[in-house]
C-alpha cells in the first residue's frame, strides 16, 4: 500500500567537517570576548602605560569580580530559560545584613559573618526558585517582583542606617584588599566559583539537565528530568552566589547602606549576554559570562583612563555593548552559513 523510496547506502561523510565547524562555533564565543578585551586594553595601555600596572590590573579584576560572580549565578538560571532580575536586590540585602551583623556583634568570626550573608542570599534564591518552579510562572515577572520586595525589605530593615568602615572588623576589610601571590583574594574566590560552576555544568548529569531544560522544557518533562527541582537548584545557586557577592561587597567597599547594588541586575544580564549565553536558554558557559563581566568592567575603566569626558562615557559604553553583541551575532551567522555550505557541498 505504501511502498516508499529506498535509500541505498547512506552517503554522507560530512559529519567530520560539520563537527569541526560546530566546535569552532562553540569556542569562538569565548575567544571573541578575549579578542575584544585585547582590543580595548592594548590601545589604552599604549596611551597610558599606567593602565597595565599591577595596581591597575588588580583594580580591574576586583571591580569585575563582583559582577562576574553574579554573572556566574545568572548563567545557571539563564541556561534553564529563566532569568533572575532580583540579584541586585539580593546582593543589597545580603550586604547590608552582613555589615550590620559585623557592626552590631563585633565578635563575629569572619567566616561566620560571610556565611550569614551567603545564607541570606540562599534564602532569597530559595524563595525565587519556589515561586518559579512550583508556581510554574515566568521567572522574569517573579524576579521583577522580588527585586522590589527584597529591596523594600532592605530599606525597611536599614531605616536609613549606613554601616561604615570604622564599624567593621579589620579582618573583613583586609579581606577586601588582601592578596595571595599578588592576586587579590576576592578575585581568587571568584575564580574558584567560576571553576566549580563550569565543571558542574560540563560534566555532571544534573548540570547537563539544566541545559536540557532550557533547550526544550516540554521535552525535559517527557525525558523524566525533575524540572522543578533543577530550576529550583539554579535559582538557589544564583541567590547563594549573590549572597556571597553581597558579603564580599562589604569587604571591598567598607561602606554599606540599603541602596547597595541597585540597578546591578541590568549590568549582570548585559555581561551574561555579551558572554555568549543564549538569553533563551540552552547554551552558554560560565567562563563566557565571567569574561563578559570583565569586558564590560574594562570598557568602563578604559573610558575613564582615556580621559573621555564624563558625559560621553555612558553613551560610548552603550555603543560598545551593542557592537559586542552585533559582532558576536555576525560571526555566528557567518559560521552557520559556512556550516550550511560545507554540509551542502557533500551533496553535490
Amino acid at each position: 500500500m505504501t511502498t516508499r523510496l529506498d535509500a541505498p547506502s547512506a552517503p554522507p561523510t560530512t559529519a567530520r567537517t560539520a563537527r569541526k565547524l560546530s566546535d569552532r562555533v562553540g569556542r569562538v564565543r569565548e575567544l571573541g570576548i578575549l579578542v575584544a578585551l585585547a582590543l580595548v586594553v592594548v590601545p589604552t595601555a599604549l596611551v597610558n602605560p599606567r593602565f597595565i600596572q599591577p595596581q591597575s590590573l588588580r583594580d580591574l579584576l576586583l571591580n569585575a569580580s563582583i559582577v562576574a560572580l553574579l554573572a556566574v549565578g545568572q548563567t545557571l538560571v539563564v541556561i534553564t530559560r529563566n532569568v533572575d532580575l532580583s540579584v541586585g536586590s539580593v546582593l543589597g540585602l545580603s550586604a547590608f545584613l552582613t555589615a550590620q551583623q559585623f557592626a552590631d556583634h563585633p565578635g563575629t568570626p569572619l567566616l561566620a559573618g560571610i556565611g550569614f550573608g551567603v545564607a541570606v542570599g540562599l534564602a532569597c534564591g530559595l524563595l525565587n526558585g519556589l515561586l518559579v518552579a512550583l508556581g510554574n510562572v515566568p521567572s522574569l515577572v517573579v524576579t521583577l517582583g522580588t527585586l522590589y520586595v527584597f529591596r523594600g525589605i532592605d530599606y525597611a530593615l536599614a531605616q536609613g542606617r549606613q554601616v561604615n568602615a570604622a564599624d567593621l572588623p579589620d579582618a573583613l576589610l583586609d579581606l577586601g584588599s588582601a592578596r595571595v601571590a599578588g592576586v587579590p583574594v576576592l578575585v581568587l574566590v571568584t575564580v574558584v566559583v567560576i571553576v566549580v560552576a563550569a565543571v558542574y555544568l560540563r560534566s555532571y548529569r544534573s548540570g547537563r539537565e539544566l541545559y536540557a531544560i532550557g533547550s526544550n522544557p516540554d521535552a525535559a518533562v517527557l525525558a523524566g528530568i525533575p524540572v522543578a527541582k533543577r530550576t529550583l537548584t539554579a535559582f538557589v545557586a544564583s541567590g547563594l552566589v549573590a549572597g556571597l557577592a553581597g558579603a564580599l561587597w562589604v569587604a571591598r567597599y567598607g561602606t554599606v547602606d540599603a541602596a547597595a547594588g541597585t540597578g546591578l541586575e541590568l549590568q549582570v544580564v548585559a555581561a551574561v549576554v555579551v558572554g555568549g549565553v543564549a538569553i533563551f536558554g540552552g547554551s552558554g558557559t560560565v567562563a563566557g559570562a565571567a569574561l563578559g563581566a570583565l569586558l564590560l568592567g574594562t570598557i568602563t575603566s578604559c573610558l575613564v583612563v582615556l580621559r573621555i569626558p564624563a558625559f560621553w562615557q555612558q553613551a560610548i559604553a552603550g555603543a560598545l555593548l551593542l557592537s559586542a553583541i552585533t559582532v558576536d551575532r555576525l560571526l555566528a551567522l557567518r559560521l552557520a552559513k559556512a556550516l550550511r555550505k560545507s554540509e551542502g557541498s557533500s551533496h553535490a
Partner: protein, 504 residues
C-alpha cells in the same frame, strides 16, 4: 474476543478514561501488551491513540481506570515513573534538545559516569555510535541536534528509546518521517527486541507496515474501544472498516484534467549548499509531484519558491511575471498558497483558536480599512471546518488541543480559504488517517479540476503515483528526472531518487 493468554501482560490498561474539558479523548479503553509481541494501535486522527500513550507514559493522569505493570496497579505521576518501570516512549512529536549533542539527547539523565561521577563523554559517544550502527544511520554523536532533518530527529528518538533496554517500547508514528530503508532497519530492530521478549506498541497510519510488523492490534474510534485481537485473520479493508465505521471511498480519486497555461515557473533556482539549478513549471489544472529521498531538498525548494528563504540565484514566475525574491507576501499576492511540512512550527499558532488560525492567511481580505469583520471570519472558519470534516468542540478552542490530523486540516483550511491559483503542499497527508487522506486527495484533485496549479511534495510513492500528472524527482539538491503520469512507475521514480537515473 477471548484470547489465549499464555503469558501474563507486561502492561495493561483497564477501563481507562480521560477527558479534556468537554472532549472525551478516551472512554473506558482497555489494552493488554504481552511480552514478545508487536501490538498495533489503530484509529483515525483524533481517535485517542496519542492520549492513550501519554496516559501510559504518566504524562496524563487517567480520570478513571487503572494502569497495571506486571499485574500490579501503578500510579504514574510523571514521565520519569514510567521510564523507571521499564516503559520507553517515542512520542508523536520529536522531543529533542536542539542545543545538546545527539549523544547527550540519547543518554540524557543516564549518561555513563566516570571518575568522581563525572560524565564519561567518550563512552557516551561510543555507545551512541553503536546504537546508530544498529539502526544503520550515519550520524555524528557529537553534532548538535539542531538542524537535523525530521527523519534524523526521529532516528535519534528511536535510538534514545532503544538505549533504555526497556521491556516495553511504545512508538507513536515513528515511521511517519522515515524512508523505506530506515523503516526496514527499524523493523529489524523491533524484531530483535521481540526476541528478547520486549513488548512493542506501534502506531502507524500505514497499514502495510502494521501487517508486516505486528501480531495483534487494538482499534479505537472516537476515544472508545472498538476491537482487539490477532491480525492474522484481518485484511486492510476489514481494519479500515473497524477504524472508520463505514466503507471507504476511493483513495486516489484523481480526476482527469486538461492542463492550461503555465501558472508557476521556476528558472534555475539555486540556494548554495541546499539545492542547485532547479527549473520546472506547473500548469493550471495540473498536479505535479516533487519526489525524492528525505533530505533531497524538496522542502527547501518549496520554501524558496514561496519566499521564506531567499534563493542565491534564479527566479520564480507566476503567470509569466517575476516574483520579488524572499517575500512570502509577494508570493501570496501572486496567488501562491503554501502548506508547510511542519504544522506545529510553521503551519499553526498552537495557542490561537481554530477560527483565528483559519483566518490567519486571509487577514487582508477579512478586513475593511484594517478593521477585522469578525462575523465573516467566523463564517469562513465554519465553512471550511465543515468542508474538511474537522473534528472539534468549539471554533474558539485553541488548535493545540486538536489531534495531529485535525491540526493538519486546519492548515489546509487556512490556505484553501485564500483560494490560491498555485498551491504548494509539502507532505499534505503526513500523520493523516486513511479516511481523511482520501478527503485531502479528493480536495487536491478538485482544486486541480478548478484550474489550480498544484505542486505536491510527498515521500509516499503511492500518493505520488496516484495523484500526480507529472513527477519531478530530486536527488541531492538537483532535479534529476521528469516523468509523465504514464512514464512514472515505482521503479523509475525510485531509481531516479537514488541518483541512478541518467541526469538530464
Amino acid at each position: 474476543m477471548e484470547e489465549t493468554d499464555l503469558s501474563p501482560p507486561v502492561v495493561e490498561l483497564a477501563d481507562v478514561s480521560k477527558a479534556f474539558g468537554a472532549v472525551r479523548a478516551l472512554s473506558g479503553v482497555s489494552l493488554r501488551l504481552l511480552p514478545g509481541e508487536a501490538h498495533a494501535l489503530l484509529g483515525e486522527n483524533g481517535a485517542g491513540k496519542s492520549t492513550l500513550i501519554k496516559t501510559l507514559a504518566g504524562v496524563h493522569r487517567p480520570d478513571a481506570g487503572r494502569v497495571l505493570v506486571d499485574g500490579e496497579e501503578r500510579r504514574f505521576t510523571a514521565p520519569g515513573d514510567a521510564l523507571a518501570a521499564g516503559i520507553a516512549i517515542i512520542y508523536q512529536e520529536p522531543t529533542l534538545f536542539g542545543d545538546l549533542s545527539v549523544a547527550e539527547n540519547v543518554f540524557m539523565g543516564r549518561q555513563p559516569l566516570g571518575l568522581g561521577r563525572r560524565i564519561d563523554v567518550a563512552t557516551m559517544h561510543a555507545r551512541t555510535a553503536e546504537l546508530f550502527e544498529l539502526l544503520g544511520v550515519r550520524l555524528d554523536p557529537a553534532r548538535p541536534t539542531r538542524g537535523l532533518s525530521i527523519a534524523d530527529q526521529q532516528l535519534v528518538e528511536i535510538a534514545k528509546a532503544l538505549s533504555f533496554d526497556a521491556r516495553v517500547i511504545v512508538m507513536d508514528e515513528p515511521t511517519a518521517a522515515l524512508s523505506a530503508h530506515e523503516v526496514q532497519r527499524l523493523f529489524g530492530v523491533v524484531r530483535a527486541l521481540r526476541e528478547q521478549n520486549a513488548a512493542v506498541l506501534f502506531v502507524s497510519h500505514r497499514l502495510d507496515e502494521v501487517f508486516e510488523l505486528c501480531q495483534r492490534a487494538t482499534v479505537l474510534r472516537d476515544g472508545a474501544f472498538v476491537w482487539s485481537g490477532e491480525l492474522a485473520g484481518e485484511t486492510p479493508d476489514s481494519l479500515v472498516r473497524r477504524m472508520v465505521g463505514r466503507e471507504l471511498s476511493q483513495l486516489y480519486p484523481k480526476q482527469d484534467t486538461t492542463a492550461g497555461e503555465v501558472l508557476l515557473e521556476v528558472r534555475r533556482l539555486t540556494r548554495e549548499g541546499v539545492f542547485t539549478d532547479v527549473s520546472f513549471s506547473v500548469r493550471a489544472g495540473e498536479i505535479v509531484a516533487l519526489s525524492g529521498l528525505v533530505g533531497a531538498g524538496r522542502s527547501e525548494v518549496a520554501r524558496a519558491v514561496f519566499g521564506i528563504d531567499r534563493p542565491d540565484a534564479g527566479e520564480v514566475l507566476v503567470r509569466g511575471k517575476g516574483l520579488k525574491r524572499g517575500s512570502p507576501t509577494a508570493a501570496m499576492a501572486a496567488g501562491i498558497g503554501f502548506v508547510p511540512e511542519d504544522r506545529r512550527q510553521q503551519g499553526l499558532v498552537m495557542d490561537a483558536s481554530i477560527e483565528r488560525n483559519t483566518a490567519l492567511a486571509s487577514l487582508g481580505r477579512l478586513s475593511t480599512f484594517g478593521l477585522l469583520r469578525r462575523r465573516t471570519e467566523r463564517a469562513l472558519a465554519q465553512d471550511w471546518a465543515v468542508t474538511l470534516r474537522l473534528k472539534f468542540a468549539r471554533l474558539s478552542d485553541p488548535v493545540g488541543v486538536l489531534s495531529g490530523g485535525n491540526q493538519q486540516k486546519v492548515v489546509l483550511a487556512k490556505w484553501l480559504a485564500r483560494r490560491p491559483s498555485v498551491l504548494i503542499v509539502d507532505e499534505p497527508t503526513r500523520g493523516i488517517d486513511v479516511g481523511t487522506r482520501a478527503e485531502v486527495h479528493r480536495l487536491l484533485s478538485e482544486l486541480a479540476g478548478q484550474g489550480v496549479a498544484v505542486l505536491m511534495i510527498s515521500s509516499e510513492l503511492p500518493e505520488v503515483l496516484g495523484m500526480a500528472d507529472r513527477v519531478l524527482v530530486m536527488h541531492e539538491g538537483r532535479l534529476v528526472e521528469e516523468l509523465s503520469r504514464a512514464e512514472a512507475t515505482e521503479e523509475r521514480v525510485a531509481l531516479a531518487a537514488a541518483g541512478q537515473a541518467v541526469a538530464r
